[in-house]
Amino acid sequence: MKTAITPARAAEMIPDGASLLIGGFMGVGTPNRLIDALVAVGRKDLTVIANDTAKPGVGIGKLISAGAVSHVVASHIGLNPETQAKMISGELTVELVPQGTLVERIRAGGVGLGGVLTPTGVGTPVEEGKDKIEIDGTTYLLERPIKADFALIAAKQCDYVGNLEYTLTAHNFNPVMALAGRKVIAEPDHILPIGAIPPDAVKTPGVLVHYILERKH
């Protein structure tokens, strides 16, 4: 059995300066109530690791607008001019990572691998400062694992022990991020009794989930 917590309680657990893996892709499959709660308590200096920063007023874009974020690790920020403006003004820093590398780095962090050997980025600005390893005639970049203090996960539904299901394009980074947060907070649309999600439908086993956001009022 997991504990259901309020958005306010979740925001309280996450201190200023924390690193957060946040699920979602252009605001789809993003834990919106958790984000709203972080904005409401005025969190500062957060590191956000996510595919993108969505748009102003949408998903992670709200954290950017609120000035809650000091560092972003993402594959794309081009649809959020505020992120770009704050980057240029120095209010936040951005590490751009190829999308396929980003998801593998998070997975590596979550499953205890020492890094990712990917051909993506070789011969591009992405390789700067990174070790290159040649294996059987192909050059690979050694990319480092990513973990974070918290993973904020959006799910279609969960059961009382935290087993999670996702749907359609709202999967995106969520299943992988659920492996790599030191504490994992799931924000499901529905909360079902134990047994209502059959074993084969579970995509994130409940043992990975520490807290479930209570039902929407």
Binding site: F25, M26, G27, V28, G29, N51, D52, A54, K55, A74, S75, H76, I77, G78, L79, P81, Q84, L96, P98, Q99, G100, T101, V103, E104, R107, T118, P119, T120, G121, V122, G123, T124, P125, V126, K156, Y166, T167, L168, T169, A170, H171, N172, F173, N174, P175, V176, K203
Partner: protein, 217 residues
Amino acid sequence: MDAKERIARRVALEVEEGTLVNLGIGLPSLVANYLPADVHVYFQAENGVIGLGARPPEGMEDRDLTDAGGGFVTAVPGAASIDSAMSFGLIRGGHLDMTVLGGLQVDERGYLANWMVPGKMVPGMGGAMDLVQGARKVVVAMVHAAKGSPKIVPECTLPLTAMRRVSLIVTEMCVIEPTEAGLVLRELAEGVSVEDVRAVTSAALILEGEPKVMPLA
């Protein structure tokens, strides 16, 4: 017929029956409109659906089913939801038959630059680096020159997207195949001469016999 339609129609002829295809945002996405009726392919959106379909009927949109730009889409019968790890596993692992991407520059080595202009806003590479690195066939679909200034150049001056020779360049003027020996001019649009192309191309072009007339079926 405008330049973009001509490009999209020509690229559509490259799409083979039963394959998995990723279309970039913008011009490349137009390709789906011109597929021959007897060609059935699966479109992949890198945010997580195989079997991407057209826009949904008014009022039928679902917030959890979007394309990589965040726009509402449908899914065809037989579609599969996948997470970002599987999505880029398919891309990097050589399971994606073809990707169509826009370009800023392509050079004599067949290398593509399409993700950043130094000194300008940097949107991030998103999935582009993985797509160019991993897709079996990479087609660059772009307007031939930028206001008369060549985009097909001896060597890219913009940061590369990947050190991988792309498969084909399709513009409104011609079709060019990058090869070991250099850029081979394969086809010319009706009414366009070799000299017309050379006038807006700074890269050396190789002629292997007479270029064919670019089909637009």
